[in-house]
């Protein structure tokens, strides 16, 4: 018998609008030393499944309607809260997606680490504070926290994202659990940090012979570390098999779609960049912000150099990718070009005419010619305006339509971005994330712009939706003869869509090149690091990479 045996698990959510079958008849098992990956998009029930094992679901609305989860022969779903507290943290531990919000900001991380030891439900196994602290420091050291004894008394906000996740891992391992559940442990992290954390989890597992359940939306992340994979969709298991079968020999249509949705390989569309006068020319752009993060910074009038001396140009018809990790200043470059943030110095020219420094009324004609698509489809639409109102606004404001043809123009836009005409009178909250992003794209192309700056337009979307929206963007670029700057942290996406790529780090451009040249032959060590950290949806090569 396996360490954990889940059979026929059913979890329903009883909401005001009816019953949602979040998990419907799910079975799987995992044994010591084994890694099981549960893969699915948002709403697939993958996290709900795992939270139910530790009784972490809010009840109501959640209700377990059936099934068993035998851990070492004992059913986790029907045990008492007291018994559950024995399992939690001792036999089964869990790490969460966002290490910032998952650590208590009011208690030092050392104190949080030793809690499972000093408050152990089994009184005989309780440790004294000193012994527990000693053990915690050792573990912090093991997960790669430098200068662990000194960091022991620090608070969560004093660590970087990657370090926080290491602390979370140490906390999960403090009682030597036999099963570790990882709920999207690297989703909130930059790609280079992600690689380190994945490796750490792998190592720790091998050393301890733990069972690991790894939840992810990203098949690429899973390829290198999972022994078995189950693919979930809308509460049901679509496929359950060993990793190689899933990646190389799947017969399930949904799994195929997931695999196909991973942007991989080079762009298929021809490079349409024209020679001659660049459409956008940015020279020596500096955008600094006042640092208000602390009273001390404010008092000293410290500045954050978000963009520090960046020069670039975009040819007409070109798709330029701008990549960098969080905090690299890539979004600020886009907003500076759009004149949405005041620039500190330098200049931006559109088609040879300088537009930086123009007043907002002088900018109006230029604004029609350049538009922006934003990252968060939930924040980028006014919640109190219908799709129709959102799309009509640019048309009427720039005098591109009159009352006779406006209806027809909006319908045309809806068709363009693949939305049903009938949903014109609906409000944003009645749409899914992908549909909302389509509305935002429709608004951006409404003024018939020449340039579109897309700031992480697909990062908030599920992979299958992401692929559809990327294809929509490429299609629109071609049909409307657009020039585009595509800003993203996701290198695979950038490679799939851009002709040329710029790499940013800490406010500066550090490397640029034609996409394929750069991929084949990166010069800067930082770029090399970035590229090698991308997880590939290919178990064999991933395993080689992780073991090297």
């Amino acid at each position: 018998m396996a360490l954990l045996d889940v059979n026929g698990l059913k979890i329903y959510f009883h909401t005001r609008d009816g019953v949602v079958k979040a998990v419907d008849d799910v079975s799987f098992s995992v044994d010591s030393g084994e890694t099981l990956a549960i893969v699915g998009e948002s709403g697939s029930g993958k996290s709900v499944t795992c939270y139910s094992l530790l009784d972490l679901l809010p009840k109501p609305p959640a209700k377990i309607e059936g099934g068993t989860a035998l851990f070492d022969g004992e059913d986790l779903l029907s045990c008492s809260l007291e018994r559950m507290q024995h399992f939690r943290g001792n036999d089964i531990a869990i790490i969460f997606q966002d290490p910032m919000t998952s650590l208590n900001p009011f208690i030092s991380i050392g104190e949080q680490l030793i809690e499972p030891l000093i408050y152990h439900p089994d009184k005989a196994r309780r440790l004294s504070r000193e012994d527990a602290s000693k053990r915690a420091v050792e573990l912090l050291d093991e997960v790669g926290i430098v200068d662990a004894p000194a960091r022991f008394n620090c608070y969560a906000h004093e660590f970087s994202g990657g370090m926080r996740q290491r602390v979370m891992i140490a906390m999960a391992l403090i009682n030597e659990p036999r099963l570790l559940i990882c709920d999207e442990p690297t989703t909130a992290l930059d790609v280079t940090i992600q690689a380190q954390i994945l490796e750490l989890i792998k190592q720790l597992q091998q050393k301890r012979d733990m069972a690991v359940i790894f939840i992810s939306h990203d098949l690429g992340v899973v390829a290198g570390i999972a022994d078995n994979v189950i693919v979930m969709c809308e509460g049901t298991v679509r496929e359950a098999a060993d990793t190689e079968s899933v990646f190389y020999r799947t017969s399930d249509s949904y799994t195929k779609r997931l695999l196909a949705a991973i942007p991989e390989g080079a762009k298929t569309m021809a490079n349409r960049a024209e020679e001659g006068q660049p459409l956008i020319e940015v020279s020596h752009l500096k955008t600094y912000f006042n640092d208000y993060s602390s009273p001390a910074a404010r008092a000293e009038k410290r500045q954050v150099k978000a963009v520090d001396d960046v020069s670039l140009s975009i040819q007409r018809g070109e798709i330029l990718g701008l990549v960098g990790e969080s905090g690299s200043g890539k979004s600020t470059v886009g907003r500076s070009i759009m004149q949405l943030v005041p620039i500190t110095s330098g200049s931006v020219s559109f088609n040879g005419t300088p537009i930086s420094g123009l007043s907002s009324s002088q900018l109006v004609p230029w604004r029609q010619r350049m538009q922006m698509i934003f990252q968060d489809p939930y924040a980028s639409l006014n919640p109190r305006m219908t799709v129709y109102q959102t799309l009509v606004e640019p048309l009427l404001y720039h005098g591109l339509a009159n009352s006779n043809n406006i209806e027809q123009q909006v319908q045309q836009l809806m068709d363009d971005v693949g939305l049903a005409r009938a949903s014109m009178r609906k409000y944003p909250h009645e749409f899914s994330g992908g549909q909302r992003q389509r509305i935002a794209i429709g608004r951006a192309i409404a003024t018939k712009p020449e340039l579109i700056i897309a700031d992480e337009p697909v990062s908030a979307l599920d992979v299958t939706i992401q692929a559809q929206v990327l294809d929509l963007i490429l299609d629109l670029v071609e049909r409307h003869n657009l020039t585009m700057m595509f800003i993203s942290h996701d290198l695979s996406v950038v490679r799939y869509i851009s002709d040329r790529v710029l790499v940013m780090q800490r406010g500066s451009l550090i490397e640029e090149g034609k996409t394929e040249t750069l991929w084949a032959n990166p010069k800067e060590p930082y770029t090399k690091n970035l590229l090698s950290a991308i997880p590939l949806a290919d178990p064999k090569s991933e395993r080689e990479r992780l073991s090297s």
């Binding site: 972490l56 507290q85 998952s102 499972p116 408050y119 608070y155 009273p295 001390a296």
Partner: protein, 311 residues
């Protein structure tokens, strides 16, 4: 932390100066002098009185000398209680008011926090509805209504508790403290429920649960600190409110405290008394606001470090 306190204290000085000046000129611009209400006082007597209180000097001169006195902690003589200074009167009223405010605050904190925490532990159940309905009742039942009703029921009808006085008969402090504290207990209950609910929905509470900690440990160690920050920040304003509330409660229960003096001074048009007490109250309230801000700050390690950060 000390630096922050020092900065805030520095900022409080101009604020106090403005308060003193505004109050001074407001009081002195009042139509009719302080003695005009008394009938048939010979002009020479008024003149003598005015000279005694420096009222014959130009206004700015009075202002400067008053400011000088206040800086030395001297709030001047009372108009109505001849021979007594405002300082003396404040010293006489302060103990009762301070004691009353303290008891009321205790009532408010103990009842308020426990009701709020209980309600937040099981939202949308009876354990939530009952204390929260009671809290709503407390908010909608102002002290000047609650006090007389309590007197009517427990003092006059049931004859369990004395209906007035302060420290004369055992138990005479109970009704005033409850009257003054109830409204704040209700408000604190709502604040702490909101704060606790917010915190209990945080990811780190889920983490604590996943570690196998017991529910009491989660509530008291992991949630309470964050959940009570709104309550702590409210303590300063609550204190100001208690002072205001003491006007009513001390009047109802005939307690010889500052609030009653203030109301009497207002009716008697005892200008130096009003002026002096306003300055005193303002100082006290600004000080308490500072304290509650600092306490709220200190509870949050991130802000604590920033506020106390070097340079």
């Amino acid at each position: 932390m000390l630096r922050f306190a020092f900065n805030r204290l520095l900022q409080a000085i101009p604020v106090l100066l403005i308060v003193i000046s505004a109050t001074f000129f407001l009081v002195h611009s009042a139509p009719g002098g302080p003695f005009s209400a008394d009938k048939a006082v010979p002009p020479e007597v008024i003149r003598a009185l005015e000279a005694q209180y420096n009222l014959d000097q130009p206004l700015w001169q009075q202002y400067v000398s008053y400011l000088g006195d206040v800086l030395q902690g001297d709030l001047g003589p009372s108009f109505k209680y001849s021979g007594r200074t405002v300082n003396e009167l404040i010293a006489a009223g302060l103990p009762a008011t301070a004691e009353l405010a303290m008891y009321a605050m205790l009532v408010a904190l103990i009842i308020g926090i426990s009701a709020g925490v209980l309600a937040a532990m099981r939202p949308n159940t009876m354990q939530d509805y009952l204390p929260m309905s009671a809290a709503m009742l407390g908010i909608c039942m102002p002290s000047f209504l609650l006090g007389p009703i309590l007197v009517l029921v427990f003092g006059i009808h049931l004859e369990w508790l004395p209906v007035s006085g302060w420290g004369d008969i055992p138990g005479d402090k109970i009704l005033p403290a409850i009257t003054l504290g109830t409204g704040y207990a209700a408000y604190i209950a709502r604040l702490s429920r909101g704060g606790m609910l917010e915190v209990l929905s945080q990811d780190y509470i889920r983490t604590a649960r996943a570690k196998g900690l017991s529910e009491p440990l989660i509530i008291f160690k992991h949630a309470l600190r964050g959940g009570l920050i709104p309550v702590v920040a409210f303590l300063g304003p609550a204190f100001a409110g208690l002072l205001g509330g003491s006007f009513v409660v001390e009047t109802i229960f005939q307690i010889p405290g500052l609030g009653r003096f203030y109301v009497q001074a207002a009716f008697n048009r005892d200008y130096t008394m009003i002026l002096g007490m306003t300055v005193f109250f303002a100082t006290l309230i600004i000080l308490f606001n500072l304290l509650s801000d600092m306490l709220a700050l200190w509870l949050n390690p991130k802000l604590r470090q920033q506020a106390g950060g070097e340079s």
